[in-house]
Point group: C2
Chain length 197, copies 2
């Protein structure tokens, strides 16, 4: 059988994607270098020709996720629209992509990714919370949100709602894409009812 050849750049992307799929579908316990290599269709020996360590693979996979995470944080000028955009994007993302929830929740994986991985995840958290607080603050100051609630409390409600989606995806009980989207819309309506005067 003839071998199939690809250059390092292509392989690195394929491996990072395969790593995310493996984590999402098989779980962290079965996330081994052999499994990832098998998914790409190369031997585990070849895998380590393109990556120096398993830690590097996790970091590359994180970089793939990072783009998606950043994409959810836009600045349209209207804080309310930003917030809605953020909530929908993030909820759909963590609700559909099972690997995200596992990555964030699994100290196992973060431990695997080393100090650098820990910093990456911590960075995501800080940026996301910062974004949330900022938009809520502005809306609160404009009087568009209930004045008897403080901003951190409202932030907790929004984060909590997002966590329920991550949790469901992590437990594999997310349902179809359409189903997730419907629940996201409903959750957002509920939050609006609850946060606005």
């Amino acid at each position: 059988m003839p071998r199939h050849y690809e250059d390092t750049e292509t392989r690195r992307r394929q491996v990072a994607e395969a790593a995310l799929r493996t984590i999402a579908e098989d779980g962290v316990a079965r996330f081994t270098s052999r499994a990832v290599a098998g998914r790409v269709g190369i031997s585990d020996g070849t895998l380590f020709r393109h990556f120096g360590s398993k830690e590097e693979i996790v970091l590359e996979a994180m970089r793939l996720l990072e783009q998606e995470i950043e994409a959810g944080m836009v600045d349209s000028g209207d804080p309310m629209e930003d917030l809605e955009q953020f909530f929908h994007h993030r909820a759909a993302f963590v609700g559909e992509e099972g690997s995200v929830g596992r990555l964030i929740f699994s100290d196992e994986l973060i431990h695997l990714a080393g100090d650098e991985g820990r910093q990456v995840v911590e960075g995501w958290r800080r940026r996301s919370v910062g974004f949330l607080i900022d938009r809520l603050q502005r809306l609160h100051a404009e009087g568009q949100l209930r004045q008897d609630l403080d901003v951190p409390a409202m932030s907790m409600l929004v984060q909590g709602a997002l966590l329920t989606f991550a949790m469901q995806a992590s437990l594999g009980r997310a349902g179809s894409r359409e189903d997730v989207r419907r629940r996201v819309v409903h959750a957002w309506r509920t939050l609006m009812k609850v946060l606005t005067p």
Copy 2:
């Protein structure tokens, strides 16, 4: 040096507690039979005299948690009081006991606990959600909760708030016991403001 002898019953309890402490303090990745044995002060060989497998250890540890989980679900006759009790108890529990969050979030651990472990965790979830829905339903019917919100949506808000505590504990950023308790009280006040007319 003289050996210290304990009967199986005592050792099983000690081991289960040590397992929870190990998961909470060292993380799932370092939760090995040797580490647990070392914490108890016995060799890993002795550990397997009292337990048939690591899976059994996890199940025994789960049984320890189960008592605490059940303790949070009382029936005082007043649904609102039940709900408040439940929220405070559960939030303080998952917020202070880091192992709970890790246990619930880690598919690694659940995978380790086998089918029986998966059923145990699924049972917790079902019972907890059932409890929540039941009390909310009754309060909603009595008109004590906002009629423009549906019960599942309110349940999501409560669960979400609880998840934020589990998440913080799992990430090791819980803070002191007093600190957690203060935030729990604040979260409950926020929920009440938001759910009642």
